[in-house]
């Protein structure tokens, strides 16, 4: 797994590459916590390169959703591959976070 993050004010876009499972969910949690800890209130996770996510990764997403909600911002996903989207749907995560086609659309939703 690799996370590449770009910042624009209080909005960050984190591009996640590779797979997130129980073997590296802790590292994913540390990556997102570090980003949110930098004063980011709104976090966009670009899933274009995300090949796989299990419930261990969903747990990390849930924590990040809570933390960004508490900070008055939020978390949005974009470029979600079909198979990952199905995991989000079955687990009810599409009700917890917005899903956009592109990172720009996701960023705009926070700018309004």
């Amino acid at each position: 797994m690799k996370v590449e993050t770009s910042y624009a004010g209080s909005i960050a876009v984190a591009e996640v590459h590779g797979r997130i499972d129980s073997a590296n969910a802790k590292e994913f949690d540390e990556e997102l916590s570090a980003i949110i800890g930098k004063g980011v209130s709104s976090l966009v996770i670009d899933c274009g390169g995300l090949s796989y996510i299990s419930s261990a990764g969903l747990r990390v997403l849930l924590i990040a959703i809570r933390r960004t909600n508490e900070g008055g911002g939020g978390l949005a996903l974009c470029a979600v591959p079909d198979h990952v989207r199905e995991v989000l749907e079955v687990s009810g995560f599409v009700r917890l976070t917005k899903v956009f086609a592109t990172a720009d659309e996701a960023k705009e939703s926070f700018a309004q």
Binding site: S22, A23, S55, A56, L62, I65, H83, S91
Partner: protein, 150 residues
């Protein structure tokens, strides 16, 4: 390519991932559709992760060497797997907490989500306790009529 593969999974945190790498090779070697491979892998990963995390929590009183195994088989019409451990008796199909997906992020608990996904992604799942082992059987149809093919 063999039609069967037996994997001794191990007990470490990264053991499920290593087993899933071997599953993927096995499944790709049989030209199974990617959508089916993804979902079946997720189901297996969740079951193995549960076993690694919880089956041997009371292991200090274990009289036998802890073990987790995965057996895979492909037939003309099905992909099948058996996940076994010799840890404490636990039937995840019956005993795992059922997540309430209608709750907000603040009220949600993630417990049970792995089993929820497993149930959603595998057509036939069964559990039995045999000779001191938890045994889960998974069967997924393959072939032209499978609606999950991509």
């Amino acid at each position: 390519m063999e039609d069967r593969l037996d994997i001794e999974v191990g007990l470490h945190r990264d053991a499920p991932r290593k087993a899933m790498e071997r599953f993927e090779q096995f499944a790709l070697g049989h030209n199974l559709p990617m959508g089916l491979i993804f979902k079946f892998q997720l189901a297996l990963d969740e079951l193995l992760t549960n076993a690694v995390s919880y089956a041997f929590e009371d292991a200090e009183d274990a009289e036998v060497e802890p073990s987790i195994s995965l057996a895979l088989a492909v037939t003309d019409s099905t992909l099948e797997a058996t996940v076994e451990d010799n840890g404490r008796p636990f039937n995840p199909l019956r005993d795992a907490p059922v997540p309430d997906l209608s709750l907000s992020a603040e009220d949600r608990r993630v417990g049970g989500l792995g089993i929820h996904l497993t149930k959603a992604f595998v057509q036939t799942l069964s559990y039995e306790r045999v000779d001191g082992r938890n045994r889960l059987n998974l069967v997924q149809p393959i072939g032209a009529h499978s609606e999950e093919q991509r």
